[in-house]
Amino acid sequence: MTEFRLVASVQIRLAKGHYVDMTIIDQMKYVFLAAFLALLGISVGDYFAKKSDSKAEADFEWVTDPNPERTGQAALFADWTRQRGAERRLVVDAGNSDIRKKLIQGVAGVAGDVMDLRSGSDFALARAAGIIRDAVPLVSDQGIDLKNTYKAALAELVDGEAVLGYPCNVFAHMMWMNLDALEAAGMEVPTSPLDIEEFERLGKQFLEAHRGRPAHDRVYFASGISHHALRRSLGGDFFNATLTASDLDSPGSVRALDLLRKWTVEDGLVPSQSQLESMATAAGGLAARVQLFWEGRFALHLDGLSSAVVRPGVGGMPKFGVTTPPCGDFVNTTLGFRAATVYAGASESDAIGSFFAFLQSPEYNYAIMASGDGLPPNPKFAAETEKYFAGADDPRLSECARQFVEAAETISIMEPVSPFVLPGVVHRIWQRAYSDVLTGQLTVREASAFATRRVNAEIARMVNDPDTAGEVRDEYHRAVADQKKIDAALAAGKPIERRWVRNPYHLKYYDHLGILGGEG
């Protein structure tokens, strides 16, 4: 039997003449009880104190990225709604911008009312998990159309009759050119559009001009390559025309992967990931890459319009220009967005509808343009190039903005997304294949074939999963049937009917080839 041996006891005086003996155990019990009550009191006090903070006063919570501009945009929203009769307030949550946090909080029922999601993997994952909902009912009394944005972006935002969000900003990836660095190397300015052969020729010329530089001061011709744009320019893509199977082993895709390998490993035109990190400053990330570009370590830099926000650390801005990413016959680039979406568990608040109307307003769009934070979501304002980088004394910025707008409206295509497999899974498979090729583990053909098998296996897993919705499975089988028609039409040299094609890339590509027929 356990016995507690008393080490000491004390007499506690409760009142005059009244004492009680307390053992160590009794003393510790009261100490613990006191600590528990103190913690409880602090928690209750904290709860009631926080109830009176801005979060409680706000109409909704906006989960967005940790960009200092968001606070200003929140204040602008409050002003904008005040001018329209009833002030609405939002509170910015920049601490949960990671998609994994949004996903876990979303399924747990505690996500923010309005969540910013990046196009591609993030948007598709949130959509597949059902944590975002149709925003159309919320804007029914606002007099706006949520489809009033760039046509290319609608491919991802629209789901039948539903519109799952509206962009906060849009970015088209183009190649910034450091004209001073090119001139110093005695080179001509790359043309626009930039083709593959010219890219290689100029790249080798640039590196030759810088031969003999020490390893720590090495230069590259381009900071990165858009593998989507390159692959698509050669007729390949992640998926086939109906998004039912992988296209990574098509001749165009294989050639694109081979070019990426050649430019990175053999020619040294583009740095590998570890080489890029080796060049980056302690801050790392995109800002560091832009700085290196302004310094002339890269002659070309792949990015959106927002690169111009990062100014050179020392000295003025070099002469710069913009061209397309290196492409084959089909000139294209990728479009992306950061879209405001409505959490499926959000409260029904007309303030959220006001927010979407605000995103289409001139006040918000001009604010985006003035700060250089990408292209405005409402294309009506995008052409007012004098509004970009307001206050900047460099007229070249407006000219460059015009090229980004033109790219967004004409040659841009969203990143490939299939409803039959998660884009994040496909991206991970492709990254592995790319890594295998760069490190010499697999040849280009082996890696392409392996990636294709893996992606198709993932598609088959999703389609065959009993939990996959019936309509998804039906759509898959319809799409497979249409793919057979497309293959037959291609083989016979006949036009391909537009309604057969689900992949937005293939719609543009077939149109470019002149083989796209009518509705049939």
Partner: protein, 489 residues
């Protein structure tokens, strides 16, 4: 108060005290573990079953485990996890070495060694000057910092060293990994800057050595590894014959020694070598089983633990020899000339080795060092004095007096390192390489994260986590079965 009431009251008091912690363990540990165990056999997927979707969670039996076993990458990730366990013996040795260095006032074997830190400090400063003059600035800075550290120890005593050794332990893991990322930078990192000149020298020397001679050295390494394993097997047989160890360990010890070099050979692409090792181990096992059948088992003495340790170090040593042999045998005429520091984190052949280096560094000044310091403080001074009187050297004193006394601590550290090693690898991989290059640093824990939180497949991720649990349980049980019997009498 009656005795019974008093007992009840005391038990109630005790339960009250531990109730908060008990509730925490139940709610945040036990229940999730049980929940995960059930989910491993269901189709739980965040993109199919949650409060906003209609999907139902169904029982799928062993589907996830079958999928795991048929996945081509699972075995790579399992191999990565096991490979990183090669860090455990040197990590233990590093923490023990640090503790031995820091335990006393530089009084080794009764003779003062106070001049050591001054000499070491001067030597590192000379190296720093050499590095600066050769343009290896980063390496020079490192050496200079080392010189300052040695100097601090000389001035302030071993307390300064203890503090400096322990500081990295309470620095954030991510912060130290980012620092190591810069240290391992292939262009600007001090590690490669220090290696560049010596490797060029070696390359220059090797360029004059005939190809066949290089291959002979490589082959010797391979044969050396084989000889180590054969001698270890013979030693195991002798110990079993003399009754020092039991038959189960005699046979198991062969596999303990063979697995590390087999994994190394397999990961280097020398599958044939791995197969040969496995085949030999199998043959010896069969022979051993035959002998066990013929000869009645004697009662073993307490030699099992030491035999296990010996096999672990033999295995690690053979693994290192095979790695070196493999490197030499792959040298062609051209590569003998070009000896350059590796791209540590960008080359699949070196990424895991970079992780092992970081793990050994982290272990040297970790809690294990503190445990060893405490254990060394409890070593009987009388036994030490007796050994010194008998004329024992420092090494003999360590092997026969110190090591047996600190064995329980070593056993504890080994078990916890094994568990940590099998579970870990996520933080370091996520920070340094994101599981690459080419999946070379994706461990089972990282794979669980990818499948669970990037693809939403929590059922499958739970299944992988339970496979990891079984691995850890088996390793721990084996260690408990054989390892703790090495404690001194």
């Amino acid at each position: 108060m009656s005795r019974r009431n008093k007992t009840v009251r005391q038990v109630a008091n005790g339960l009250l005290f531990i109730l908060p912690n008990l509730l925490g363990v139940l709610v945040f540990t036990l229940l999730p573990v049980i929940f995960s165990g059930v989910m491993a056999f269901t189709n739980w997927n965040l993109t199919k079953q949650n409060q906003f979707l209609d999907g139902a969670i169904r029982w799928v039996g062993v589907q996830h485990f079958l999928e795991m076993l048929s996945s081509p990458h699972f075995y790579q990730y399992l191999g990565n996890t096991l490979y990183l366990l090669l860090a455990v013996p040197p990590a233990i040795a590093a923490s023990l070495g640090a503790a031995l260095l820091l335990q006393g006032k530089l009084d080794l074997g009764g003779k003062s060694r106070l001049w050591l830190p001054w000499v070491a400090g001067f030597a590192t400063l000379v190296c720093a000057a050499g590095c600066f003059s050769l343009g290896a600035t980063s390496a020079g800075i490192l050496f200079a910092a080392g010189g300052v550290i040695f100097g601090a120890g000389a001035v302030f005593g071993h307390t300064a060293y203890r503090t400096l050794f322990y500081i990295p332990h309470f620095t954030s893991g991510v912060a130290t990994f980012l620092l190591w990322k810069k240290l391992f930078d292939p262009t600007l990192g001090p590690v490669n800057q220090m290696l560049a000149q010596p490797l060029q020298l070696v390359g220059g020397v090797l360029s004059h050595v005939p190809q066949w001679a290089i291959w002979m050295v490589g082959l010797s390494g391979l044969l050396g590894a084989l000889a180590m394993l054969l001698m270890a097997t013979r030693d195991l047989h002798r110990r079993w014959r003399d009754g020092e160890i039991d038959g189960a360990l005699a046979l198991g010890g062969i596999w303990i020694a063979v697995v590390p070099p087999g994994i190394v050979a397999g990961l280097m692409g020398a599958v044939e070598v791995a197969m040969i090792l496995a085949g030999l181990a199998f043959i010896v096992t069969l022979g051993g089983l035959t002998q066990l059948g013929r000869r009645p088992e004697r009662l073993p003495s307490n030699g099992n633990g030491l035999a296990v340790w010996k096999m672990i170090f033999v295995g690690a040593g053979a693994g290192v020899l095979i790695a070196m042999a493999g490197g030499l045998l792959r040298l062609t005429g051209d590569s003998a000339l070009i000896f350059s520091p590796p791209d540590w984190l960008g080359d699949p052949a070196w990424a895991k080795n970079a992780f092992i280096i970081i793990m050994i560094w982290a272990a040297a000044g970790s809690n294990h060092m503190l445990l060893y310091l405490a254990a060394l403080g409890n070593v009987s001074g009388e036994l030490r004095e007796a050994s010194q009187i008998d004329g024992a050297s420092y090494w003999a004193e360590f092997v026969h007096v110190t090591w047996p006394q600190i064995f329980p601590t070593t056993f504890f550290i080994f078990v916890t390192s094994l568990i940590g090693g099998l579970q870990g690898g996520f933080e370091i991989a996520r920070t340094l390489t994101e599981g690459g290059p080419a999946g070379a640093t994706t461990t089972l824990s990282y794979h669980i994260y990818q499948e669970g939180f990037e693809a939403g497949r929590l059922g499958y991720a739970s299944a992988v986590s339970w496979v990891m649990f079984v691995l850890i349980l088996m390793a721990t049980l084996l260690t408990w079965r054989f390892g703790k019997e090495g404690a001194p009498e």
